[in-house]
Subunit: 366 residues, 4 copies
């Protein structure tokens, strides 16, 4: 129960360390009969791969995904899909400077207290590299969503104090700039801010927004497995996330009920005049676009000298060397999409048994 398994029906289990032999994920419970090949997954892997812009670590990894099981004749078989990436760039380094140090903003102290010792090479299991397994599983989840006409799209809405202008919103633009913003002008300013941060040996944070379109109403379970509770867990499980909100989020706490309530109306289906809810009411999807946002803290690894302590109980000064992103947000966008897709698939599959009519549809042919 070290928490590496996620999901109830569509269940993923991840493994691997930043500087070990590789990383991977086993997906158990993927329905049979879905066309799947390595290219389907590699496409998403490439979106989080390092070395794609001057704002990401220059570690050179192909992050080439391999399907080890669960696919036969180009189709998922219903049995576990094992996906693996071998690490190729594990530069042999001298870790003596950090192996006993509690780096500020990192989980070193927590890990060491918990387990008695820790894998200090590149953060071990707490490395952001762990997320590549999620992206791989997310690509498979996305294939299922596509069969049901559901899409999941995330992008950067702010970096430090640079926010996108909603009037200039252009989703397709996000792939044209290194900060994954759907607003060209804001992306330009954000890039300048990042250049300056790099120069100052500093790092910055930002906010990612994620939309799911096509999600039917009725998804999410009433009490502890609410749609937003499940997604909340999923998104907070991504390292560096310090806040999550749906729809108006924290702003909803500042307005009146008469302003916040979305009015329903009928017009070729039940719809809402506004979407302050972000697509979720009482923990269940309301048929509208799902909208969530996640706040990422600045990368904790910065090259400036920092005061800290080590496990010999000495107060010391450290300078963190190595290859670190000055911001995690651009590469985290696809991770947010992945965790959202995985969670939606799981809740969609869980919901299939919600009413006896559905059960009869499967077993009694209607």
């Amino acid at each position: 129960m070290s928490g590496s398994t996620y999901g109830n029906i569509f269940k993923i289990t991840t493994w691997g360390e930043s500087h070990g032999r590789g990383l991977g994920v086993v997906i158990d419970g993927c329905p049979a009969g879905i066309p799947l090949c390595e290219e389907d997954i590699q496409r998403d892997m490439d979106r989080r791969k390092p070395g794609q812009s001057r704002f990401t670590t220059q570690r050179s990894e192909a992050d080439k995904i391999e399907i080890m099981s669960g696919v036969f004749d180009g189709m998922t078989t219903g049995t576990p899909i094992s996906l693996m990436v071998l690490n190729t760039d594990q530069r042999s380094r001298d870790y003596s400077a950090i192996c006993d140090v509690y780096r500020p903003g990192h989980a070193d102290y927590g890990f060491e207290t918990k387990y008695g010792f820790r894998d200090y090479r590149g953060g071990g299991r707490s490395s952001a590299r762990e997320t590549l397994a999620r992206v791989a599983a997310g690509a498979v989840a996305r294939k299922i969503l596509a069969e049901l006409g559901i899409s999941v799209d995330a992008y950067t809405v702010s970096i430090n104090d640079i926010e996108i202008n909603r009037n200039n919103f252009d989703l397709s633009e996000r792939f044209n700039n290194p900060v994954v913003m759907p607003d060209k002008a804001a992306a330009q300013r954000a890039a300048e801010l990042l250049d300056s941060a790099i120069k100052n040996l500093d790092s910055v944070g930002g906010v990612v927004e994620c939309l799911a379109n096509g999600l039917p109403a009725g998804i999410g379970e009433p009490v502890f497995d609410k749609l937003d509770a499940s997604l909340g867990r999923a998104i907070f499980s991504i390292g560096a996330v310090k806040g999550v909100e749906f729809g108006l989020g924290f702003e909803a706490a500042k307005i009146y009920g008469s302003q916040n309530n979305d009015n329903f109306f009928f017009e070729n289906g039940i719809k809402k005049k506004t979407n302050n809810s972000g697509g979720v009411l009482g923990g269940i999807s309301d048929g509208d676009t799902l909208v969530l946002r996640a706040a990422f803290k600045p990368t904790p690894s910065i090259a400036q000298p920092q005061q800290t302590a080590n496990n010999k109980h000495e107060n010391i000064e450290i300078e963190i060397k190595g290859r670190h992103d000055p911001i995690v947000v651009p590469r985290a966008v696809i991770v947010v999409e992945a965790m959202t897709a995985i969670t939606l698939v799981d809740l969609l599959l869980m919901n299939m048994a919600a009413k006896i009519d559905n059960v009869k549809k499967i077993y009694c042919g209607r």
Copy 2:
């Protein structure tokens, strides 16, 4: 899998509807040997009971908790603790006005789509009354935390645009005012704002903050069961929550790494100079005070006329009658505490097997 069970080792299962025969919770996995009586639980129940101020519904319920099993000779036995509250004030009402209506801001439409029909009496399972089962379980969790020297305390930090002044922070003050604010002056202004909202047949939202003191470092699991991911799910599972954050939360996305990183130092133990992390780094507790905040939307039930649709696909106007709080926050404070306590207990018990030394301590007497 309708999501009414929560927790891995300390596992709770809740049941019941607002206008059914009663509500309850079964706690499975509570360690044996903890002194427990009904008064221990009633104390917390009374903190969320309706009718305690002019800002809560006047529904008259004693919310008297009964221990049905799992306690013998005043001690928990290690077997399931069943706790129950019978509903007493189920006024027979005429539901014809709302039984087919999708109330704005409510889960009616989602529930009906999911299950084919719904229990329209008082919201059924989506009623805020469902939270009393969580408070009962939370009271038991708190007993365990007390044995380990851990306390959990929540309070209101803002209502609409009225925020507490951190310079006037006085935790004990929270029980002296009906809005549960740890700042007497802010509470006074919030009460005035609420009086005005009631007059306008409107409702407001607010933000609750929760602290856990005494939590050891090392709690939380590395990937999907991170401390913040688990708490994120727990808090988002409370109805009306639209945002959750830890430590600096969304503010962390706006500052530099050099500002956000908390420096460790040694002085009678490993400590941090600041607590921007809110007590959690990489998903694992860092030994500092846990700090989380939850944003609650305004109560969706308002007495103003509202436009909406019904399940006959008619666009209509409704006025919601009945007994509704103009704000959920003051009664939600104890629910936030409860979900936090339950989650911490579960993670503490899960962490016991993290290292072989712990296993040997139990089975080989060290």
Copy 3:
């Protein structure tokens, strides 16, 4: 995680002690839209109720089931169904003779070692009375199976050395005799054997067989949640079961592959010429009748003097007083049916998401 929750989608959680206030079960994940009333459940409860023949304890309990939640307008709502039985006959007894004794054949020593102390009144949680909660849940599961045309029927096949004659098999006969045997003559002989055992202050064991008809092929999951593995756990979870087998069971280990293999043939569907498999191959239902058998040990509580030890580490002699069945088998028959029904429902619901065509049938209307 004290193991009182069972099932993945159709999930039951039981609570209660023999001599506490009552016992009950919460069923989470029952599909919405199934007609359900207390009589549906009471019918099964009455089959395990004490006091129905001279071979069952004379404890006088009505075992009246109450539906506390989850049913509205006579239909399941999809939310938790809480079922409860209050204990009425908790004769105040003097437990001083057994409170510190480890009764032979009982779990006293294990419980005390595990929890540090135990509820010695009537066995507490290890009492056979715990099974009434399973029977209640089983009655609900059976309603779902009925909607799908699946029936579950169990009966006694042997008591001590008295076995039924398969040539005289008459399923309907089982309700005409106190030992629940589908063979009148064998039942008569078994009754005589029981009378003699009672006279000798002794107890006997026996074997229960259970059939499920109408189960479609394809149910059960390939590896750890095999149909037989799931049922094996379910049946072994019933107190006093010491052996479980499917189809030919232990006999299969004594014959050749050419004898044991069932030949498939097509005739209005794929069928098998024999059913040595007992309806399960490779852990997945093969479309034939499911056949399982469970061996129950003799009731451990016997009135003869017995040598044992107590928790003061004294070697002593005890005589167990009180109301005890000389055999558990007749009342266990309905418990075997219940656990089988619950397990089949869970696996049927889990199987719904096995192929993408099923998922599309639910969400894309084919």
Copy 4:
């Protein structure tokens, strides 16, 4: 939820197919601080490797285990341990003879009904080769048991009608003969019977017994996660098992309570005069040796012509070619040990939180 994950705290997830790229297992929740290297695991792998005697398939596989993650500096880190075996002998074969056939005694029909199609190469996921992942995980579990002084040993007790003579029982002998019997003479006769079966193109079954010594009292959870219920599921999850029993097993149903009850006595600890219980009472370990037996059916793949049907609904005759063991028992012995060890470790870890004194031992240093 295709059932490839097993365990609650010590949780294993297996993947892979007989004729795919490889097979593996991810172990999540293994305590940190246990010395582990590939040799520790390879030792057990070699016990189930094909080609070791004339009674096992001549498929040539090294079954070389690779540790992909979770071990650092020769110690488990507490994070997921990923173990993998690449398939090397995947002879390209012509499957046209069996790809649409429902082989007698195999899961072909069930798989195809469930998933809509199946991986027909070597049984895919239902191949006995799947068990190598369990053996690998079992080797890790055994390392933990060793730290606690618990051993797990299995052996063959019967093959067809050849049974061991308990008077000649010699555990060490089991590794000296190809049928893994702890009785040299019986092993000799069993080998002759097998030679004869091979000559007749037939197969046979047998019974495996497994002992666990050193298991403390108090292990197993009271209701659904009983020690025997958990082991029952674990053992029935091994392909070809048709029956499981504990202690006297089915024999207990044929004797009187006065004969079956084991008397407790005190002599340097609480002990039992006999062990009819097989070490488990009321689902909880009683401190005595755990004794379980599993009946394996004859290998279904036999070279004799057999009548069956195919998915074109034709009744046909087939002859199964390929490399098949005439009996699964000798290679299944280590699989029974593995599943027993995995289950015991999980229950031992789950039991750690059973009483508050244990919790305080970990967090309050007593």
